[in-house]
Subunit: 276 residues, 2 copies
């Protein structure tokens, strides 16, 4: 028995999210189907967390156990040849049997992209929210800073969240503005990329943060309002949930050098499961 850890990119546009569900057509289903074709084994994969319908991943991570004797260096090409073109394995490594894609994860980063230009960029139209209305980016940046730290994020979680604790830590958050060449000189807002790194996320957390920050950018709320929204611990206090298409799971980080005992700190942290 081996434990393999894979990194995967997917365009979530056509899928009902990452994790298998009754309706079918998920990224997990497609990967498990490819694994079955390749190995003949009915393998269940374990993702670092779920992503919602329409959410993308640049680098989602999952692990799975297999008895296949296929050499490690052959897996990626063999799996990619059996996957649809909107899902691609970018890396596969072997890890100790106790390693768990979700429980062993140390940090996770999401990116949300907002195209603030008057005309959307059609070549990335599936991965950016289009918001041509004027945004105060500096106010959004200030609002975002109020969320860095350890807080109860109930106000920024779906009402359907079933987690026992809504306390999470946002370790880093930044906002970058990318100016396109075509738009330069024509007073365009550019594309706003929001990166949020945390130890775990609640369902819709990044999308509700973005929906609320857009209201800050539009002048409907002040940056300081983020503090009272946190304090309210009430989903109704925050803004709307931003569209899923702008969200991308950017990165999942592991500390491969830490001893197993440290990794096991996460073993029973079931509610750190990411539900974006």
């Amino acid at each position: 028995m081996r434990n393999l850890l894979a990194t995967v990119s997917y365009d979530g546009t056509a899928y009902y999210g990452f994790q298998t569900q009754p309706g079918g057509n998920t990224v997990q289903d497609a990967i498990e189907h490819a694994l079955l074709q390749l190995t003949g084994e009915a393998i269940k994969i374990h993702g670092s967390g779920r992503t919602d319908a329409g959410v993308h991943a640049r680098a989602q991570v999952f692990h799975f156990h297999t008895n296949s004797i296929i050499p490690l260096e052959r897996w990626r090409l063999a799996l990619n040849g059996r996957l649809p073109e909107d899902i691609r394995i970018t890396e596969i490594i072997e890890v100790p049997l106790e390693f768990h894609a979700r429980r062993s994860a140390k940090r996770k980063t999401y990116r949300y992209s907002i195209n603030g230009n008057r005309v959307p960029d059609i070549f990335v139209r599936r991965y950016q929210l289009h918001h041509p209305g004027k945004l105060d980016v500096e106010a959004m940046r200030q609002g975002l800073e109020h969320l860095v730290g350890t807080y109860d994020f109930t106000s920024f979680a779906s009402r359907h969240s079933t987690k026992t604790s809504h306390v999470r830590t946002i370790l880093e958050a930044r906002l970058e503005v990318e100016q396109s060449e075509l738009a330069a000189g024509s007073h365009e807002q550019g594309v706003i990329h929001l990166y949020v790194t945390g130890n775990g996320f609640l369902q819709h957390m990044v999308r509700i943060i973005v929906g609320t920050l857009l209201q800050v950018g539009e002048g409907k709320r002040t940056p300081e309002d983020m503090k009272s929204i946190l304090a309210a611990k009430d989903r109704g206090a925050a803004g709307p949930t931003a569209e899923s298409k702008g969200l991308m799971l950017w990165n999942v980080e592991y500390d491969f050098n830490s001893p197993a005992s440290e990794q096991s700190e996460w073993t029973d942290a079931e509610d750190h499961e990411d539900d974006e």
Copy 2:
């Protein structure tokens, strides 16, 4: 009567090329349909040149005549609201009646993108050729340099070309390598972007140049072979036509300050029509 000049981006994946043809489903058809809906006029648009099935445009340009009294600043939004999501007008200006999107064009630039990494980037999979095999980029760069200048490009034109002259001038050509963050450190080749600027192009010219340069990159030809291929004036002397999906009409340049007499230099240059 007004003459309007529009810049348009399109994802060519779903279309049988830019220019109207019997089979329908072209970018021109979609734009003329939107113009009809907006103005009630059966307007014919004139592109700076054709692009083939599956070829994209970052900034194609076309002009059209209209009697509509819609104010200039309203056209873009009104047309985009009537266009499919893979076609977007990025700019519309008013030009003198004698201005012609093709005949008045001074320079045109195409970009061809080759992903040389082991795994394709799924987010731009429709706009990049995937070529994971080892490429000698420096040899490709040298081969490309041999094409800069005024030559008979018969060897690099489709056999179906009906043009009376195959003499064209490549004004500039460059090759840029973009390293992705994910691939860094893992000895990946990166994405090779080839930019070619000319006064006009023959059918499939950039794609045949790319197909031939890929053979140079693979070591099947030397950079100097480009000289004998040009001299042969025979399509059979060059390499294959690279896939259309990697090609994008990048830019069309006009000299708006030159007098009309200079622009009319192009009036009867029918065979400068671009057929990429």
